[in-house]
Amino acid sequence: MGAKQFGARVTRVEDPALLSGRGRFVDDVKFPGMLHACFVRSPHAHARIRGIDASPARALPGVHAVLTADDLPASMATNRMPMLVPNPAIAASLTQHCLARDEVCYVGQTVAVVLADSRYIAEDAIALVDVDYEVLPAVSDYRSADNPNAPRAHLTLDNNVASTFRMAYGDADAAFASAPHVFTEEIWQHRGGGMAMEARAVVANPDPTDDLLTVWSATQTPHICRRMLADLLDRDLETIRCIAPDVGGGFGPKAIFYAEEAVIPAAALKLRRPVKWTEDRREHFMCATQERDQLWTVSIAVDDAGKILGVRGTLLHDTGAFVPWGIIMPYIAAATMPGPYVIPNYALDIKIVLTNKVATTPVRGAGRPQAVFAMERLMDRVARELKLDPAEVRFRNFIQPQQMPYAVGLTFRDGKPLIYDSGDYPKAQSEALRMIEYAAFKQRKAAARAQGRFIGIGIGNYVEGTGLGPYEGVTVRVLPNGKVAVATGATNQGQGTRTTLGQIVSDRLGCRLEDIIMTVGDTAAIPQGIGAFASRQAVNAGSSAMIAGVAVRTQVIKLAAQTLGVPESDIDVEDGVAVARGGNRPSLTFRELARLAQGMPGFSFPAGQTPGLEYTAYFTPPQASYCSGTHLAEVEVDPMTGAVKILDYAVAHDSGTIINPLIVDGQIQGGVAHGIGNALLEWMRYDENAQPLTTTFADYLIPMATDVPTCKIAHVESPTPLNPLGVKGAGEGGTIPAAAAIIAAAEDALSEFGVHFAETPLMPERIVAALRAVNAYERLAEIA
């Protein structure tokens, strides 16, 4: 039997329910007697709390309780929240309290929670909670956070530096000392959000019947949520069940564990009632974690042919007020900078500073978009200075496919040496150049210019570590009715997890896709789990699905052969039936086999038979697998308005073997849309007091249907040897190089004016200011 589902454009099993209004999101969960929560949040970026008077709020009809820190269980009241990814390089190991005790360090930090009969009443009541704040000076701009006279982000700090470290190999200083050409860029990148269309939400239901606390959370990581709750509530793990039902987009911010996820269950236990909290969009802008604030000062040393001799510089990273996910993003950024290029010498000094803004944690790309933007800006600079074609400079510096596996010389975020397992970077760039008709671009540009239009083209190359461990499990079990239950710790926020894992099990076990009953995102379904981040689920859970599917197939064959009295080698398994190839082709259905596999009460099994047709696999990847690709953007810039329109966009993407091209194309297209937001639109702004200024979709723009072209996509498949399927991640590659390609294209469109852009996002006012600075409008007027 050959593969039927794997590799096919299978439409998704998730869709019919979601298209009919029958999805089940956290805010759809409802219980009799359920209370509704609303949080009292700090209006100040930094303040001391002198006291809280909640009595007027408690007196409001319909309010059941107002809880402050001391009303929480002892383990939550005084302890800070656990750090999710600790690292010895973190000097100031700071996480927040679930409810603030005596100090608040960003606007929106949780101070108290109101529990009421309705959300409407709860919102009325928070206005009646009187918090006596002593406002303190706040750190807003991370670029000055480590000045000796800067305010401290926390009262307890001597300075705002959370961590410093260096990532280096070779001898960059020696390479620079003798290099014929050295170019330096200062690159300023801004923070934005994940902005899933569903904000966060938590429902907690304490059931006294069996002392089980069930928590529904719009999270990417329900198993982590469960472990955190066990610690914070001081409960046995077995008495907590966490469910991530349908989740309306993740993109990173839903991967971490939040204060609200602890407070709502604690409140439910205290009041012995189900409690719901649904975040509104304003709260999401203030309190869901963000990313991308980084300042890079980097130099590249090249020879006369544009070959790279070394890269060195500094990276300043804003972690916000706390460090909940450790120092992962700047670490990944530093490890991503070398990308697909041979860089003999490399040194990057990284400093992570605290500010009075919501913490930064991974957002789709996790440090990689910034690194790729920095590296690709350097490559474009080399091309411009040496008067070389930007594509040619890159071709001259690519790691060649025959150099795989390629050891970069650094240690990646998984603790393993940074070794690219597979990839063909020249091929990917060639594919992308072909799709966008790069060779003919000069003529297109000239023709457009003759019409008074300014078009440009830009390239973004990247290598992305994906499929990070430690593991993700899959259980495959044939049910007595002949259907196949599949359970996984992997979760689904739109990636089509049920479909892709189903495809794998269907092929490997030999059952119909529609007979698979899949449970994702439920800690009751499988004991161990990690969740969705780092483009890891196809690698980890996909491999486990394959291993478990094969194992159960072996059990099916064994039992069928034994029962039918034929050799195991004579049994085929297809569409949920085991058939003997010989004789009159006797067969047994999964329904019959599942019942046989249960055994008879009191009778012993034949030697070697195990109970049920069931197997659980936990695949553990030996290291990250590295996907890669090239993006090419062709854009038009209107110099009068500063508007950038994307005319054409091509992606050549290598995520190894493809399980479902329909889904992978969707991931790439959606990732590019997020990258367009990063390139041109999305800038979470704060004032000098660290007050957030962009807290609606009218102030903070995310790409609309008219902003995102339909991408041309090519798959360059270099299967990884690191897992049995040969798959690499696909969730973030669409986002990672988009800003690099688009902003390079905008710069190219305006090449005759010699303007230079080294900032994300590239807003219209920035383009107009750059054109003004070079007297472009006077020159345009002369031409006109």
């Binding site: 009919s20 209004g21 999805g23 409407y120 902005m195 739109g494 889904i663 194309d665 995310i702």
Partner: protein, 162 residues
């Protein structure tokens, strides 16, 4: 808080309720009538996830008070499918063209496109994109949604001709 008695029709079924004047139509549908297919993504009228049809015209149910819908006929995503377990032509095109990922914005997208395809059975891609600017999607990058709309328009026209 003042309450008012209202009656309205949702997906062909009549409902009478006594509601607070500040209750939004979205919350009435979701939490009083248990029609949770309509989603709330921003509560300030930009994202369009809460889009429903009020007397046949698209409206933001998060910016509409339930009392404003008194006497109106409402259609929500639950009212689109021709029968339990079936999808209509637009819904089917969404599945075929991968027009959804997480599915949160999808109900609003479907309602907006239902109105478009009713009023303009042969839209251009540019017209589809233009009307979709009232609905934000963070997952798909819109490509699948646009092609689903155009595919549904083709199939609807073919059905009309038959």
């Amino acid at each position: 808080m003042a309450t008012l008695k209202i009656s309205l029709t949702v997906n062909g079924q009549s409902y009478g309720r006594e509601v607070e004047s500040r209750l939004t139509l979205a919350d009435l549908l979701r939490h009083e009538l248990d029609l949770t297919g309509t989603h709330v993504g921003c509560e300030h009228g930009v994202c369009g996830a809460c889009t429903v049809l009020i007397d046949g015209r698209t409206a933001r149910s998060c910016l509409t008070f339930a009392v404003q819908a008194d006497g109106c006929e409402i259609t929500t995503v639950e009212g689109l499918a021709p029968a339990e377990g079936k999808l209509n032509i637009l819904q089917q095109a969404f599945q075929d063209q991968h027009g959804l990922q997480c599915g949160f914005c999808t109900p609003g997208m479907l309602m907006t496109l239902t109105e478009l395809l009713r009023d303009n059975p042969d839209p251009t891609e540019s017209e589809v994109r233009d009307v979709l600017t009232g609905n934000l999607c963070r997952c798909t990058g819109y490509a699948g949604i646009v092609s689903a709309a155009l595919e549904a328009a083709r199939r609807l026209r073919a059905q009309q001709e038959r």
